[in-house]
């Protein structure tokens, strides 16, 4: 079970401060609220570029001096600051409440860390816990002062139920959402598979960063000869005669599963990281930063 009272303790907060400092150094000169998602529009203050005028466009930004000199209609473009929506989905299904430390706690720490950095960067951050649909949701927040609100939300979110990412994404993105970065922290043990859910993100033209969390025991289980395996999510069980060959086959199966998720992400240009709960979460966050997708 998650360690509710001590999940985000002082030690954790110190690590977050450290991560924030590190993120500033990793992208030198970036400023909060300015460095993200700049797009060239006809409004704004800072000149960015020129482009050919297209018939029917507003003529207010036509550079008449250039027209007089070159006899061409050229539009002046300006950069407009656009905050990046970050949708952090953390898996709150029953399968995450497993291992020591629990995958769920690890996933929440990752979510908290990314949320913290996002809020400090003046991004809009959404926190969504999903199981068989959306289980917990914290609507978009912005600004450092929202950190504690987010932490309380994460601490109060309890795991349970089956996993259906497709249902969760469908429910979340069916309402109008801006394009942004979707961070999914999960074990991706979804009976319906992950591909349809990811296809949905692609349909909504969202950028994805998948963090695959699992335990070492999950990857390489140590089981007795005869065992009754019970599914933590569904409660179903089945008797299995365990042999070294079977264990080997399971390990291969697990590796295939991870590779499948990673390959899908890479194919779509998305970020993918897999980690065991043994890895310190701050190290994992740094890996996320290094991939450059989260900090721009």
């Amino acid at each position: 079970m998650s360690e509710k009272a001590t999940l985000f303790d002082d030690e954790f907060l110190k690590k977050l401060e450290y991560l924030n400092l590190v993120s500033n150094h990793m992208i030198p000169g970036h400023m909060h609220g300015e460095h993200r998602a700049k797009k060239k529009t006809d409004s704004g203050i800072e000149f960015a570029d020129y482009r050919q005028y297209v018939s029917g466009e507003d003529t207010k930004n036509v550079d008449w001096r250039t027209y007089l000199r070159l006899d061409k209609l050229i539009l002046r473009l300006f950069e407009e600051d656009a905050d990046l929506p970050i949708y952090i989905f953390f898996d709150a299904s029953g399968s995450m409440d497993h291992g020591a430390p629990a995958k769920y706690d690890y996933a929440r720490k990752i979510a908290a860390a990314l949320c913290y950095v996002g809020l400090l960067n003046q991004d809009r951050v959404n926190l969504v816990g999903f199981a068989d649909g959306i289980a917990h949701e914290l609507s978009a927040r912005r600004g450092k002062h929202q950190v504690w609100h987010a932490f309380r939300f994460l601490e109060s979110a309890q795991p349970g139920g089956a996993t259906s990412m497709e249902k969760a994404f469908k429910a979340f993105f069916s309402s109008r959402r801006r394009r942004g970065l979707v961070v999914v922290v999960s074990d991706f043990l979804d009976e319906e598979g992950f591909s349809r859910a990811f296809d949905m993100l692609r349909y909504f033209r969202q950028d994805l960063f998948a963090v695959h969390v699992y335990t070492t025991e999950e990857a390489h289980p140590d089981l007795p000869d005869e065992v009754l395996l019970e599914d933590a999510e569904l409660g179903t069980s089945q008797r299995v005669r365990v042999t070294p060959a079977l264990l080997e086959g399971y390990a291969e199966q697990f590796e295939e599963h991870c590779e499948e998720v990673g390959a899908y992400c890479r194919k779509n240009g998305w970020g993918y990281l897999r980690t065991t709960t043994d890895v310190p979460f701050e190290d994992l966050i740094l890996q996320v930063f290094r991939q450059g997708r989260f900090l721009k």
Binding site: D187, P221, E226, L246, G249, Q253
Partner: protein
């Protein structure tokens, strides 16, 4: 196939029980451990693929069960000691006569005895027969129970119960009418007479042996109170031997003598036992490489006492007083009849023409006693009786001649009606009768001996009325009588085996005082003395006998006196070497045990490699 360990029914029951137990234990599985996993999603995928291998899994399970069953049944069948019959053998029935005479205890060069080789051969021959054949084991000493041929297991049981018999008169037994192959296994020393159809198997091998072929403790004829030992030794070895003879007895030290015996030479020694005290005497001969130990020692009993207190109650007898006073081992006290009282204490009482009203507290010798309540009455007086007959075999008359005995007058006494006066077992002390006339006859007993709790020798004439005291045998008579009254007898000499002693319902103990099983036989007692030794037999009334059981036989010590060579061409044309080991056993239990062990290892390896479950 036959089973030597138990009946076929029992083996079948054991196998069935094992089978049921193994299968039951195989089905009886402990509940599996419950393990919660995050998701069985991946397991489900994996097991779906594995379902294609269900047949292989079942095959593995069956293989595992088969291994366990084979192990269990192998062990269970091995307990029954199964044995395969030899289909190639045309011998259906086997009779084995095994020589268990004394010389079969001779050691061979390989450290085993001829007997052990013979038993090994016998076992091999029994296994040669077909499983459904008849088998019979017989021996030359009559140990094997007589009976009809039976199955192999019974014959093997008889074989294991046989031992070497040191005594008796071994002979080839009578064979029952049976169409069978006959084997006679022998060293050829003591037993012959095998029928020509018998296949003779020799276990003879030349051996070294020096043994005592005679041993006797006896009084010197000239001086009955002194004893010597007669020891005869034989070197039956093919070479000369340095022999050490040692005699040990009740005193420490003993006597040691060393002599050289040439091959097949016999020597005798007379050894004075004056330095020995009363008690057992043991003679031992030792020589290098002696292969037959049963004749290396012999036992006897030295009866003489160092000092005997004798009370002579006489009105005056020079004869008696002088003779007794000259005897160094006697402590003589002369008492006049008027001074006698029952409190007089002595080992032996001699009453001369006197008898107390009550019997004394020990054995007594009486010369012409007057009537007393504890004695037979005097019937009349016979003047100048005829020259008497006497029993020289009785201990009191050993080395005593009475041809010249003349008696002026003697009292006729009555012999108790319940006491047979016939010396039916003359020469054997304590023979069937309690009273015995040793001089004279039943109508006129001149010397009557009574073998009761306190022995009595009654002379029915006075020394003064005869020339008995002037006879050369008189001192010997006195010494013999004192010895007999004190129960001073040398031990009876017997050979090992079944020993009969002339005492009814007696208890038997060996030299260490351990009881020996004995059973009454009419007026005798019988016991089995398998080993040489000195046995003490005690009957009611503290009647006591000592029996020296010694091999002491030239025939038995001649371990090389065989008509067989060390390898013998048998009647069947097969050469059997002495000491040859028997062939491999046909018994399967060892193979079954090996199979079980191998399968246990296989099961262990395959289990840990998850080949089996």
């Amino acid at each position: 196939m036959i089973f030597l360990g138990m009946s076929a029914g029992m083996v079948a029951a054991l196998l069935g029980t094992t089978l049921v137990a193994v299968v039951f234990l195989y089905w009886l599985k402990p509940p599996p451990r419950r393990v919660v996993v995050p998701s069985t999603l991946l397991w489900d995928r994996l097991l779906k693929e594995k379902k294609r291998n269900t047949f292989l899994d079942r095959l593995r399970w069956l293989l595992s069960l088969l291994l366990a069953l084979t192990i269990g049944l192998s062990v269970a069948a091995g307990v029954g000691r199964p044995e395969l019959s030899s289909p190639s053998q045309d011998i259906r029935n086997i009779m084995v006569v095994i020589d268990n005479s004394a010389t079969m205890a001779t050691l061979t060069a390989d450290g085993f005895t001829r007997w052990e080789h013979a038993v090994a051969h016998a076992g091999r021959f029994l296994r040669q027969g077909s499983a459904s054949g008849k088998f019979l084991i017989l021996d030359t000493s009559g140990q094997a129970p007589p009976g009809e041929p039976g199955d192999r297991r019974s014959a093997l049981e008889v074989l294991t119960g046989l031992t070497v018999s040191l005594g008796g008169a071994p002979e080839f037994p009578d064979l029952p009418e049976l169409d069978a192959e006959i084997f006679f296994i022998s060293d050829g020393v003591m037993v012959d007479g095998a029928p020509p159809e018998a296949t003779l198997i020799s276990v003879f091998e030349p051996a070294h042996n020096v043994g005592i072929t005679a041993f006797e403790i006896e009084a010197l004829p000239s001086e009955p109170t002194r004893y010597h030992a007669f020891v005869q030794m034989k070197n039956a070895s093919p070479v000369a031997k340095q022999v050490t003879l040692r005699l040990s007895g009740a005193v420490e030290g003993g006597i040691r003598d060393t002599l050289t015996l040439q091959a097949d030479e016999t020597q005798a020694r007379f050894i004075d036992l004056s330095g020995f005290g009363r008690g057992p005497v043991r003679a031992v001969v030792t020589a290098d490489a002696d292969a037959f130990s049963a004749d290396d020692y012999a036992y006897g009993f030295l009866p003489i006492r160092t000092q005997t207190r004798v009370a002579l109650i006489t009105p005056g007898s020079l004869y008696l007083e002088n003779v007794l006073a000259d005897e160094p081992r006697l402590s003589l006290e002369v008492i006049r009849p008027s001074q006698y009282n029952p409190s007089v204490s002595a080992d032996v009482y001699i009453f001369d023409r006197f008898a107390p009203p009550q019997a004394p507290g020990g054995p007594s010798l009486l010369f012409l006693p007057p009537d007393a309540g504890w004695l037979s009455r005097t019937l009349d007086v016979v003047e100048v009786p005829e020259a008497p007959a006497w029993n020289p075999a009785h201990p009191v008359l050993r080395f005593v001649a009475l041809e010249d005995l003349r008696i002026d007058r003697a009292a006729r006494i009555g012999v108790p009606a319940d006491r047979d006066a016939q010396a039916s077992s003359a020469g054997e002390p304590g023979g069937g009768s309690v009273s015995e006339v040793v001089v004279g006859n039943r109508s006129l007993p001149l010397v009557l001996v009574s073998d009761q709790a306190d022995r009595i020798v009654r002379v029915s004439f006075a020394l003064e009325d005869s020339n008995f005291a002037l006879q050369p045998g008189f001192p010997i008579f006195l010494a013999n009588t004192l010895g007999w009254l004190m129960d001073e007898q040398v031990a009876l000499a017997r050979a090992p085996g079944r020993v009969e002693v002339p005492l009814p319902s007696a208890a038997v103990t060996d030299l260490e005082g351990n009881g020996v099983v004995a059973w009454p036989l009419s007026d005798r007692t019988v016991f089995q003395a398998d080993q040489p030794g000195l046995y003490t037999v005690v009957a009611a009334g503290d009647r006591r006998l000592r029996v020296a059981v010694n091999l002491a036989s030239v025939e038995r010590s001649s371990v090389n006196d065989s008509g067989l060579a060390s390898s013998e061409i048998t009647a069947a044309g097969t050469t059997v070497l002495a000491g040859a080991e028997p062939g491999p056993s046909d018994e399967l239990w060892i193979f079954l045990l090996l199979l079980a062990l191998v399968l246990v290892v296989v099961e262990w390896v395959t289990y840990h490699r998850r080949v089996t479950v």
